[in-house]
């Protein structure tokens, strides 16, 4: 092992060296592109697990009390563990690593024109801690008592006391895994911010930075600013679990509401932590495929800042009926609706970018437009829940579940597919198959709507979330509602089946796709000026930047695009 360490140290020195072996090249590398791939593949693997868990509990809801093929009978305890893990995995081990870590690592140095991240070894450490956190989480399925089943929000005293949750080991491992994951992203976040602020190519001024990079930086700043209180809260929760302290135990002077505040003070900004990179990806793609400058780059940036700042003062809208002082709900209703102002501005700017363009509907553009069309639904349904009056009824119903899946699926699934299909040629040097890509797009987006539109209705009819069987409730066990649940489950099966097409297309194209060339989409940003895939060190000669990132369709030029690094 020590010999390997020496080799690794040698490699980082960046001197001439022999081609490293497989382990050093792909598992112990400090190259931002390799680390991005590690995050991407780990995230995709976790997405498969998270998707499988969704399959398990949807089968139970669609066809109650039948043994689920590939899993077995879903008992109440298993059901709780499965929904808890689905939520945790999809947010912390899929959306975060793929959107921020994978795209951020791959694209930041390439798009700002430098050879690597500012702290390459911290970058490698970040991934290794992340991998450890994923392993800890997965191990918790196998321990005595099983995985934690107290919901991804982990409200104490349920989460803090093994006598209440009956998964004493699973709860501790869950918390440790989340804490490790946070360490990984704090390391990654500081690295991203420092790199973008310090390592930009000469000539790249603040307003020449591609909007995606801005959004990733803002997301990591929001993350770093909001994670502190939750980490403090998590340490107290860990002490409550393992040392029998009473931070959240009212019988010993603690307060269960404290955790809810700390959790949601992080938890709400977290939504924007993953939303911003997703919107950045979509912005890059619509500019390229509409051959248009982004409409109001600066307004977009200021709105994003506005969203980021407001996201810190809306958290208690998750707690309207949690037993907080009811007067507080009025304040948070106002701040919550205020956030609709910058978000609406962003949506308008995105739509306006299409005006006067020359739109090509290649697969990445389909995904980007799909994001806009679907995210609109997620956005407007949030108003029902942000308004305290209606939230009294809709809180914790499937209406809420449908709402946030209409935001998170566009964020973590649709925009990720947009990003992967768009940058695949740069990542692997080959094009993905367009026909398969389009089949996969429609096979994902149509079932997605069929899954969640029925859930808006069951939620409005009073279906609560995290219930493994509605047999106990006369109002909820009516056949009409069960038909809706079954419809949703069948649509999920269809959607999951279509993902096989993507997996085939992804791996087949990696070796057999058409060769991409440097700039297959005729884009202006710097990552398209290097070979595909980019070599170690990225740029043969570090580029100089002369203009902003979206110069398309300039009158009087032969080409309809003007790369950032072209002198004239």
């Amino acid at each position: 092992m020590s010999e390997q360490m020496q080799h690794a140290g040698h490699e980082q020195a960046g001197q001439d060296h022999a081609e490293p072996g497989f382990f050093l090249k792909y598992c112990w590398s400090t190259d931002h592109k390799i680390i991005a791939m590690q995050y991407l593949f780990t995230g995709m693997l976790m997405a498969v697990i998270g998707g499988f868990l969704a399959y398990v509990f949807r089968m139970q809801l669609g066809f109650p009390n039948h043994s689920v093929p590939g899993f077995g009978l879903v008992t109440p305890g298993r059901y709780n563990a499965v929904v808890t893990m689905h939520g945790t995995i999809m947010i912390f081990w899929v959306a975060m690593p793929v959107l921020i870590a994978a795209f951020g690592n791959f694209l930041i140095p390439l798009m700002i024109g430098c050879d690597d991240m500012a702290f390459p070894r911290i970058n490698r450490l970040s991934y290794q801690i992340f991998l450890l956190s994923a392993i800890v989480l997965l191990v918790s399925f196998a321990v005595k008592g099983g995985a934690f089943g107290g919901a991804w929000t982990a409200y104490p005293p349920l989460s803090s006391n093994g006598a209440y949750n009956l998964t004493p080991l699973g709860a501790v491992l869950w918390l440790l895994a989340v804490a490790l994951e946070f360490v990984a992203f704090l390391l990654g976040g500081i690295n991203f911010t420092v790199t973008v602020m310090n390592s930009r190519a000469p000539g790249m001024k603040m307003f020449d930075i591609p909007i995606l990079i801005w959004m990733i930086v803002l997301a990591t700043v929001i993350f770093m600013a909001s994670a502190g209180p939750l980490i403090a809260g998590a340490v107290m929760l860990l002490f409550d679990q393992t040392l029998a302290t009473g931070f959240y135990d009212p019988q010993r002077g603690g307060d269960p509401l404290l955790w809810q505040h700390l959790f949601w003070f992080f938890g709400h900004p977290e939504v924007y932590v993953v939303l911003l990179p997703a919107m950045g990806i979509v912005a890059e793609i619509i500019a390229v495929f509409a051959r248009k400058k982004l409409f109001g780059y600066k307004s977009m940036l200021y709105s994003t800042w506005g969203v980021g700042i407001l996201s810190f003062v809306v958290w208690a809208h998750h707690q309207f009926v949690a037993g907080i002082d009811p007067r507080m709900a009025n304040v948070f209703t106002v701040t919550t609706l205020l956030i609709s102002i910058p978000v609406a501005e962003l949506v308008f700017l995105y739509i306006a970018t299409l005006y006067g363009g020359s739109i090509r509907l290649d697969t990445p553009m389909l995904w980007a437009l799909g994001f806009m069309a679907e995210f609109l639904i997620g956005g407007v349904t949030g108003i029902f829940l942000g308004s305290s009056g209606t939230d009294i009824y809709l809180h914790d119903t499937y209406f809420l579940v449908a709402h946030f899946h209409y935001t998170f699926v566009p964020i973590a699934i649709i925009s990720v597919f947009a990003g992967i299909t768009f940058w695949f040629p740069k990542m692997f040097g080959r094009m993905m198959n367009e026909t398969l890509g389009k089949i996969h797009f429609w096979g994902t987006v149509i079932p997605f709507n069929v899954i969640f539109i029925p859930l808006f209705i069951t939620g409005a009819a009073g279906d609560q979330r995290r219930i493994y069987s509605y047999a106990q409730f006369a109002e909820q066990s009516r056949p009409a509602l069960q038909h809706l649940r079954t419809t949703s489950t069948i649509a999920l099966l269809v959607m999951l089946a279509f993902q096989l097409i993507f997996i085939f297309n992804f791996f087949w194209s990696m070796w057999n796709g058409k060769r991409a060339g440097d700039n297959p989409w005729r884009s202006t940003t710097l990552e398209w000026t290097v070979p595909s895939p980019p070599p170690h060190g990225n740029f043969a000669e570090l580029p100089t930047v002369y203009r902003g990132p979206y110069e398309y369709g300039l009158p009087g030029r032969a080409d309809d695009y003007w790369p950032q690094n072209a002198p004239n």
Binding site: L166, L257, G356, I359, S387, Y393, A461, I467
Partner: protein
């Protein structure tokens, strides 16, 4: 609107439903408008041979007003939503009409239990009726509830009343409802509370005054059954602050 799917059985159910409809109308308008414009632009500006794109920065005044005008309208809509949302909230959660009857609700893993005044109409007297899983109330009477949890966080929800309130260990949270339709309705726990969360069901039975009086007599402490079933006197008004103590 969702009365098609679930009964409205309390006085404030309709105010929540109407707020839902108001929001649905406003955001529905914006949703449809935005989707129509999005699809129309995609269709209108699909790539055509020989048609160049227009170079627009979005800073131009005459173009930017297409953003600012809808933007101002969005702000107006926000105000139109915020004001009634807060009013509905205020009526349900802040202003408490005087109680005609008070009941105590205990949540625990995984059952609801209730303490209701007996025929004397007062809590904490000998003839109190304690039930598990079933709450009996009189139609058209204003009830205050004192909600407590014996272990973890639960949530006391009666969808037909449009009522939801978390129960926290270590505190007593008060709220109110006034049922206005006779019938039997579900009580659900809507906060993940462990293994039996889905089994934590209860029922609220809304009865006429006569039926309720008869139920009281049947269930009151047998040794006190000879007491006359006096009509429940209105207890002194408890404000929220007092009830919290």
């Amino acid at each position: 609107m969702y009365e098609r799917y679930i009964t409205a059985a309390s006085t404030y159910a309709h105010s929540i439903d109407h707020l839902f409809l108001l929001i649905a109308a406003l955001v529905g308008f914006w949703l449809i408008l935005a989707e129509v414009v999005l699809f129309a632009l995609v269709i209108k500006y699909r790539e055509k041979e020989g048609r160049p794109t227009r170079h627009i920065t979005g800073e131009e005044k005459e173009l930017h007003r297409w953003i600012t005008i809808p933007h101002v309208l969005v702000i107006l809509c926000d105000i139109v939503i915020v004001v009634p949302a807060i009013l509905v909230w205020y009526n349900i959660k802040q202003a408490q009409p005087p109680a005609e009857q008070t009941v105590r609700v205990y949540a625990q893993q995984w059952a609801w239990s209730f303490q209701e005044p007996g025929p004397d109409g007062k809590l904490d007297t000998e003839d109190d009726i304690r039930t598990v899983g079933e709450l009996h109330v009189t139609v058209n009477a204003t009830y205050h509830f004192e909600l407590m949890s014996r272990d973890v966080v639960h949530s006391f929800a009666i969808p037909s009343f449009r009522l939801k309130q978390d129960a926290l260990p270590g505190r007593t949270i008060t709220g109110w409802f006034r049922p206005n339709r006779v019938g039997t309705y579900d009580i659900q726990c809507t906060q993940m509370c462990g293994l039996g969360h889905a089994l934590m069901a209860g029922r609220v039975i809304v009865e006429t005054q006569q039926d309720h009086a008869a139920w009281l007599i049947r269930n009151a402490n047998p040794s006190l059954a000879s007491l006359p079933a006096a009509p429940a006197p209105v207890p002194e008004n408890t404000t929220m602050a007092e009830a919290r103590r």
